[in-house]
Symmetry: D2
Subunit: 336 residues, 4 copies
């Protein structure tokens, strides 16, 4: 039984907590919050032990009627591993605290790669050896790695060129734009997303160009991959269809975008309408000579969640990767 703590019960943290709680070989010891907002109240409703992420805010929680079980230090003392889900950049600052407790840590993709001993994606990255910390790559990198790894294994990737049409903010982030604009972000090409993919897939050439759009539900990737061989469209569809963390949206489903995808996720009973899989439009997959094209959507709030579970096992156990992935998939119900 691995005892797990989640530091930062926000968009990613709440999902990681639920996923940890669903694992037979893990125990969710507790979660932290920086302030006693609706998320904190909901954590308690779920029966999760709540800790104050910041020591001197314990009072604030008490005033709100949400007495915490302790502080981050208390939580760190009680766990085998901490999953850092604090806002981007805070993870690096938390590092020293984890070190002072000798607590192995998982970080998220908002941190620089050097925050941890290795970057991680369950499908794409190699053996993590004796790393004491791992960093699950960002939502976009996770989505790209899952796609490029099988293509590279099966056909060789000469070069991937991807346009990322990123969501401007998560649904509750009302202070983020743009409104009525598609913004090159960064305006320089290639963007930093390709190099982030290379932290888990070092030998795949991938150039990314990134835009930001006035949507909140999902990222959209317009993907081109020049392959080293010339498979048929049907073969590639089969290859991708066999990947457990890729969902090939069938044409008959009549799903045209993120709205319908999330609706479908809710229809099949997914908690929070989460799509842990890349969602690839099957009819978009097309091979022209050695050029493969496709569109995929990535649920930024969800796709890294199973990867965090597998990262916990990679860091704390000897369970083989495939076994971990199978267990995560089964417990969460991954596979559409």
């Amino acid at each position: 039984m691995t005892r797990v703590g989640v530091n930062g019960y926000g968009t990613i943290g709440k999902r990681v907590a639920d996923a940890v709680a669903a694992q037979p070989d893990m125990e969710l010891v507790g979660v932290t919050k920086a302030s006693p907002n609706y998320g904190a109240e909901a954590a308690i409703r779920r029966g999760y032990d709540l800790y104050a992420a910041i020591d001197d805010r314990v009072d604030e929680f008490e005033t709100a009627g949400l007495t915490p079980s302790g502080t981050l230090d208390d939580l760190l003392r009680a766990v085998d591993v901490i999953v850092d889900c604090a806002p981007s950049g805070i993870g690096a600052r938390n590092r020293a605290i984890y070190a002072s407790h000798d607590t192995p840590a998982i970080y998220q993709g908002g941190e620089d790669a050097d925050v941890a001993d290795a970057s991680f994606n369950a499908r794409a990255s190699g053996d993590v050896g004796d790393a004491d910390s791992l960093r699950v790559v960002s939502c976009n990198s996770t989505g790209l790695s899952r796609l490029l790894a099988p293509l590279d294994e099966a056909y060789g990737v000469e070069k991937a060129r991807v346009t990322l049409v990123r969501r401007g903010g998560d649904p509750s982030e009302t202070d983020r734009g743009p409104i009525n604009d598609v913004v090159p972000d960064p305006a320089t090409v290639p963007s930093h997303h390709g190099p982030d993919v290379n932290t888990v897939l070092p030998n795949v050439a991938v150039d990314t160009a990134a835009l930001k759009a006035p949507v909140t539900a999902m990222h959209t990737h317009s993907v081109n991959v020049t392959l080293e061989t010339e498979p048929s469209t049907a073969t590639v569809r089969r290859l991708l269809g066999d990947e457990t963390r890729l969902f090939l949206i069938p044409e008959v489903a009549n799903i045209d975008g993120a709205g319908a995808l999330k609706d479908y996720a809710a229809d099949v009973g997914r908690p929070r309408g989460d799509l842990w899989e890349n969602c690839v439009w099957e009819e978009s997959i097309s091979v022209q000579g050695r050029d493969l094209y496709l569109f995929q959507n990535v649920h930024q709030e969800a796709d890294v969640v199973p990867e965090n579970i597998d990262a916990i096992r990679a860091l704390t156990t000897d369970i083989p990767r495939e076994e971990s992935v199978a267990l995560t998939n089964e417990t969460l119900g991954i596979g559409l």
Copy 2:
């Protein structure tokens, strides 16, 4: 055991079906779909018997590998009551079919009031007598009725004036606008929404002005009610807080809009992130002289769902209204 069929398993129909299935005194016999899209597949995954809404499309379902259990006629033969959840205007056309089977019917608010013997809202409308059909008023009217009924009972409503900032389309309706515009719709004031409220609350004076905005998640109501007496702000907050289908959003929750509301709904485990209750910002409730002001959000996809359940009981049983409401609330988990 009331045997219930749902004709039109779309945005409203799928939610009504789930709610029916959760009732101890009802049996969901089956649901219909007009085409074998993702919703049809999801219905079957849930174990619901699927019928073809349109006779000559049975083939289409079979081609898609979703053989239906029969047609609408077959379904009507097997039920005590049918809930029509077909697109706006189709309900009126379906009326003759239901009549030919002598099947009592519930219609939705997209139909004109005269489609049914009476319009219905569990909190506001009177005894339905021996009606053979009921029409649950629209999402906006449901939201307004729930609010105005207690205010009128407690303080008397001299006049209500409401600006409805309506969502442009549901999340999966990608062919609906506006983009980057707030459109008076209709441009004439008062709009037809006030008279719709009067189908269930005939004696409350209410003028509505309606806009359409580029959002998909919820409607926002900016409400003014001139009362006949002068209660304190605190008293009104208590009155509304005691209503089971009103959720008073506490200030400490730090919920600023529809995104955070839906996030919270998912946090507390609501299926589809549904908010069956009106969501009223507690801090917005303010009495100035006899003028009450407040903001409320209404989840257009969800608020009519418990009303449909109570309408079924009103139409087919002698269960008293309050008992029905309490049972519906308990089985669905209404009350935040």
Copy 3:
């Protein structure tokens, strides 16, 4: 000839500068910018003398090839009046600088009322006496004052209740949201907008409720005014139609929102597609008993511009108000 400087050549400043340049009795001495972006280059293209708003950034302008004519101090020495169009809050900080030069100043609505000796709206506010500084009220307050002043004069306003559906950001402000949300802002009612109207119309009772929507082009006001008398709808339409800074959108025009309004403004040759007038949907104007309803749109970037011109004359000359308004209207081409 009044020599005018504009401090802060941004959204408002560039429009005020153009309007000043169009006046026969004013000379635009120069404009300032804080950084050498596209606006600075465009100012020079127009032949406006450019000054550095912040002393130690002169170098930055030179590097960009846009050598400034001097600094703010230089500009202040050369003008009779300065129009402060710096970002909200910076105006108050600039106050001491203007005072040290004994330069009369006009401020914008982003500043608190006490920044100046009096608040100003050409239609609504009274004589400014011997004020040394004026503050043009905000875009929303300008729009409301123009509407409420004639109504109060003609019929008496018992109480106005207005829902302001505000644009989230101006078209180029890509870092502002919300995306896909309508946010109560502030969540408390009444909002501060009513009191701001009272700085120019102290005796009109007005309660405002404010929302923020994912649009960039215009604000939309849903207006209710309980009058003291009971005019006919036709009479009110005539009254408002006679106001020069109100544009009654005729039904035949088929203009349904801000997009079409801005399109029309461009069609008739308006620079920047600016709508200096309130745009009131004629068909929305409706009197029910003593309750008047209407929808109006306000172009946040433009409606305060003619008011700034009239404020300059009020502060620096003895030209009667009506004469100033007529001159401003004629030179700009106000009246649709």
Copy 4:
């Protein structure tokens, strides 16, 4: 003097009319409208003779107080060439009418290529010979042709791969979505846009993938071109910078998206804020090996306008292409 008529004074037609009116060698005889909305009134304000596009609607115009100068037939009798700017698909239906008058015609990109004798782009397409009709390719194809033609001439294009993030609707089209979604449209790749480019640039290999986003102002193109040679980034920037209908957005301008671009267009005095040029982010232009990347924005309402002017000359005169382009550029003020 070429006498020109414009059939369909809408988004494109009103701009073509203005551009025709600005040419020294053309006379704008008149424009047609299908209904007497704000556009019709604005045409008359501008002094354009208005004709009824549809015979039996003359009455409707008269009721609206906008008596037309005649019908389409009258207009056709008076012109040397007609520019069809009717809604997509209507142009093909109008063809027979033009033929019955023996009037040479220009069509827009909403029509199929076979509507005319040849497709046209001033930069890219070859000599039009003795064509009696031309079709200006669509806004997206115009934007791509202008970019690919010089690249192919200078370096050879091995293959271009472009993701088109298209605006959902024009600013006044409030009935078009999506809201809060980015929709693959079509979901199949490559889209039909590449073949449309090939109607003017038959020998350039270009694959396009098209999305639809909730924006109204501009299209955004994420462009990759694998070249046949390996120029430096600086060389390519110079090459593109020398093209008169490409505007290289300098980094110092701090223009991050369509909002700022349109703001800048208005700043420099462009009527309607029109951007006739492709807008290419200079800093995005980057060569990696033989792979060129860049982002460009295309103002869908404007970029085809100068092309229509050049198409008129190509169809009705012997003026050499370059001379026509220079004249069009000069009269409109093209070049930023």
